[in-house]
Structure formats: C-alpha cells, structure tokens
C-alpha cells in the first residue's frame, strides 16, 4: 500500500504541474459553468418575471395569485452532466493514457521498474492517483455549479437538493474513474502507445456517441423537435397505449442504449437530479428503487475497468515498452 500511495502522490504532484491537464480542466470547468450559468440566468429571468407579475397584480388590487411557473433548479445541471458525459470521459481517457505513456516517453519507466515495488503497486498507484484527481475535479465542479444556481439563478436550494447534487457528483466520479482506468489498461496492453490511445478513443466514440445516438434515433418521440406525441397533442396515457404496440422495438432500442455505460451514467444522473420528468420531485428512496440496477451496473463496470487496468498493467507489459 505504501508504494501504491507513493506512486499516487507522484501522479498528483505531476498532474498539478502539467500544463495540458490544467488546460483540459479549465476548459471543462468553463464549459460546464457557462452551460449551467446560462440556464441559471434564464431561470432567474423567468422567476423575476413571475414575481414582477405577482407584484403588479397585487398593486392593482387583484387578490388572484397566478400559478407559479414550474421551475426546478436541479434541472439547470443538465448541461453540466452532458459535458462530463462527453468531454469529461474524453479527458479521462487522455489522462489515463498520459499516465502510462509519459513514463515511456520520458524514459522513467526503467527507474520505476528497477524498484522493489509489488506486482500491483504501479497500476494501482496510477488508478488511485487519477481517482483522487477526479474526486477533486468533480468536487470543484459541484461547488462551482451549485454556486451558479444559487448566485446567478437566485434559486433556493433545500437540504434534499444538496443531497441529490452530491449523489450526482458521486455518480460522475465513478463514471470518470471508469474511463481513466480503461485507458490505463488499454495503453498498458497495447504494443504501441498510440494504439492504446486510438483504441480507447474508439471505445469512447462507440459508448459515448454512437450507441446513445442510435438509441435516440430509434426513439419515436425524438423524430420531431419537441417530441412526436407532444406535437400531435397526444396525452401521456394514449402515448403509453401507442407505445405498448411497439414493446419489442422499444425493448431493442433500450437494450442498445443500456449497452453503453454512458447511458447508465446519464439515466442515473438525470433521475437523481430530476431532469427526467418521471423522477422530478420524486423522493430519493423511490428514485433509488427504480434506478438501483443502473447504479449497480455502473459500479460494476467501473470495478471491472479498475480490475482490468491493475491486472493488465503488469511488469511484463510495461517491460515490453522498454525493450
């Protein structure tokens, strides 16, 4: 464990001073902040308009209070989740690849391998280092975006909202560790370092973009902007009746979607944040009851990815990169 933590600490120190890492994280933070910030500003505008309207009605002597618009602050985080889903995963791959590749390019691999460290210390140290990095990054993004909701959106957040945000942050951390670990393992396993990066990006392309896109394209409700059923003014009950006739098709579509770990991350995050209408304002316990399968598969996928990274980043595979 000592050697593992020593290697993890070195990774942290090294990344802290790495310009590329700094640029990537600042880019991710700015993109996320802009997305949440713009949504929060729009939220505030709607809220202010409603409050002004109520004020004017009251001033004119009217006792009628119009229904408040349906505004849910946690839904403002949708853009942030999507940035982590796509860009975060890509950056996690770059960092995972870099942590193995840099040892080879810099020529430090020989020094590392000549030390009396245990079989799993090097890969475990690298995975642990990146897990800590992502923990810090996700924590910073969580604080920033929560602050944006409070300050820009002027939205009141309850304790339960904070709990939902923290659960979403935990889900994001697990998801990013999955991608970094996968890239470490694939890079260690590949004969050429560049192959490791290319294979990791192909997997990213398939899981993050292609498979979810196929699922979205097959969803009949996505065929028309704003939703097919909404455009045709079909009520939810009737929509369900129509879809019942396409259960087989929808099963295949859903099967394709859930074959991607990204979809598990997205569905979990959207459920706990109430981005998906079905789960909005639903108690956390009920959300968990409906989503535990997704949580387990995401956790299992990440555990498998970490095991893969630690297992294949063997001394022999690393030695092959020296000779």
């Amino acid at each position: 464990m000592n050697s593992t933590w020593t290697i993890a600490q070195k990774e942290l120190l090294d990344l802290r001073r790495d310009r590329l890492f700094g640029i990537l994280i600042i880019f991710l933070a700015v993109a996320t902040l802009i997305s949440v910030g713009v949504a929060a500003a729009s939220f505030r505008t709607e809220l202010d308009a409603y409050n002004l309207y109520v004020q004017q009605l009251s001033a004119s002597g009217s006792a009628t209070v119009p229904a408040a618009p349906l505004l849910f602050p946690l839904q403002l985080l949708r853009g942030g989740v999507e940035y982590l889903e796509i860009l975060g995963a890509l950056f996690a791959i770059v960092l995972g690849y870099g942590t193995v590749a840099k040892e080879k390019y810099r020529g430090t691999l020989q020094l590392l391998l000549s030390r009396p460290v245990g079989r799993f210390a090097i890969p475990a140290g690298k995975v642990l280092g990146l897990a800590v990095v992502w923990l810090v990054v996700v924590a910073l993004l969580t604080v920033m975006t929560t602050a944006a909701i409070l300050v820009i959106g002027n939205a009141p957040l309850q304790g339960i909202d904070i709990a939902r945000i923290l659960i979403a942050a935990l889900i994001a951390w697990v998801y990013l560790v999955f991608w970094s670990s996968l890239a470490i393992g694939v890079t260690a396993l590949s004969h050429r370092l560049s192959t490791g990066l290319i294979v990791s990006i192909v997997v990213w392309l398939a899981f993050v973009l292609i498979i979810p896109q196929i699922g979205d394209t097959m969803d009949p409700d996505n065929q028309v902007p704003g939703g097919l059923f909404a455009t045709l003014n079909i009520l939810k009950a009737d929509e369900l009746k129509v879809l019942a006739n396409f259960a087989g098709f929808d099963g295949i579509r859903n099967g394709i979607e859930v074959s991607s770990v990204t979809k598990h991350f997205e569905r979990l995050s959207f459920a706990f944040l109430g981005v998906k209408d079905k789960y909005n304002q639903l108690p956390i316990g009920l959300v968990w009851l409906d989503m535990w399968g997704y949580a387990i598969t995401l956790a299992a996928a990440t555990l498998a990815s970490v095991t893969f990274a630690v297992g294949v980043t063997s001394r022999r595979n690393l030695q092959r990169k020296i000779s």
Partner: protein, 245 residues
C-alpha cells in the same frame, strides 16, 4: 573462495529469433569496479537489463548479491542501484521531490535525512528545490547516481554513465564512481564505450562480442597479458580481431 556480487551461468536472452546474449557466464567479486566493454549491439545493455530484472532471461541463471534474478527478483531490486543510459526524471518535480519519490519506492519510510547525505556526497547542496527540467546533462547523470544509491545498495549498475557528457562531466562522474567504490564499498558494474575511462576506474573488465563473453579478467592481469600493447584500446581491438579470425 571469492565473495561474488554477480554470477551468471549460461545466461541467454533472445528477442524473437535474434540472440542478444549467448550463454554468458561471468563472475564479479564483491567490491570490484567491473567494466563491460563491447561494440554497439554486443549485448551490454541487455546484460544490465537482465541483471537488474528489467528483462527476463530466455535461458540460464544469474545471481546478484546472492539472489536469483528470476526466482527472487524483489530481493535483487532491493540490493541494487541502477542508472540507465540517458537517464530521465520527472522534470516537473524538484530534485528533492524526485529523490524522495525514488527513495520511498526503495523502501525508505523517512528518506529526507538520507537524501541530505546523498546530496552532500554528490555536491547538490542548496539545489533541492530546483526542478530537474533546468539541469544540465552532467547534473542529471549525477542525480541519476543519487537516485541509485539512496537506499545504500550493495551493487550499482551503470549503463553508459559517461554517454553525452563533456570532459568535466566525465571527470566528475569518474571521481564519484571511484569514491562510491572506495568509501562505501559498493560493487560497481559499468557498461561503457570509453576505454580511457575504464583504465582509470575499473579493477576488472569483460569484453562482449555478438552476445558472447570473449574475455574476462582483472584489468591489471589483462594489461600484463599483453606486454606488447601500449593501451587497453589496442588490447581491446586485438581481442576483437582474434575472435574474428
């Protein structure tokens, strides 16, 4: 009976169909400064890589500091220090951070005192907070020595330690090697092209050619065996040509 620091028996290493080491059997006594000579591609670096457990031999056996490089590689790694050719470090880290990292990996739990001692030996005092990216080639080689001796190894492997150094750097490094051997009793195994350095540093030599050991003896005996030759360079080329003919 000699106390051996390094002993190999019929040690071979192949890369696919290419035989890089061919039944190498050599012995290096404890406390010696051994110079392994040979042309490029003779198998010098492969020998060091096998002895430092970076590569597994294809056949044969090797013991370093009394431990088998295959059966007890961890014990070998604990007992050795290693300076690779063209040594590189984590340039974003300071000298102290680099050395602390390698010291901890070598099992030193509170390494700062030892690092201080090593920095004094190698004349690095006051430069602990400098990042290694700013160090010259000669300084980096000395840092390479520093990281290799942090845990007081009994055997030190140096792969082309003077490669790319200017004359001043070569002299400083030579003095360091001699000092490590004489003051701290380290056995030193060194690959090199520079025959002039070998005569000033080594107590015994071996010559590799095409993966085979074609000569091994003390430097003094080697020079005595060739009274007609003026220098080690002439002896080296004569041994080479004998093998060709």
């Amino acid at each position: 009976m000699k106390n051996l620091a390094i002993a190999t028996g019929n040690l071979s290493k192949s890369y696919g169909s290419k035989l890089a080491l061919d039944a190498l059997s050599l012995e290096v006594a404890a406390g010696e400064v051994f110079g392994l000579l040979g042309h490029n591609g003779a198998g010098k670096t492969t020998t060091v890589n096998v002895l430092t457990t970076l590569l597994e031999p294809t056949h044969g056996n090797a013991e370093v500091a009394g431990h088998s490089v295959t059966a007890d590689a961890m014990a070998v790694r604990r007992a050795i220090g290693y300076l690779p050719e063209n040594v590189q470090f984590y340039d974003s880290l300071t000298l102290m951070e680099n050395l602390r990292f390698f010291a901890q990996l070598s099992g030193l739990s509170r390494p700062d005192q030892r690092i201080g001692d090593v920095l004094r030996i190698l004349d690095f005092e006051g430069q602990e907070r400098q990042r290694l990216g700013s160090f010259s080639k000669g300084m980096r080689q000395r840092v390479g020595i520093a990281q290799a001796i942090l845990h007081s190894p009994s055997v030190l492997f140096l792969d082309e330690p003077t490669s790319g150094l200017d004359p001043e750097g070569v002299r400083t490094l030579r003095e360091t090697i001699v000092r490590l051997n004489s003051e701290f009793g380290m056995t030193i195994f060194m690959n090199t092209h520079l025959l002039s350095e070998v005569t000033k540093t080594c107590t015994s030599i071996g010559i590799l050619r095409g993966g085979k050991l074609v000569h091994q003896d003390t430097l003094a005996q080697t020079l005595a065996d060739f009274p007609g030759e003026d220098s080690l360079e002439q002896i080296y080329f004569q041994l080479e040509s004998e093998q060709v003919s």
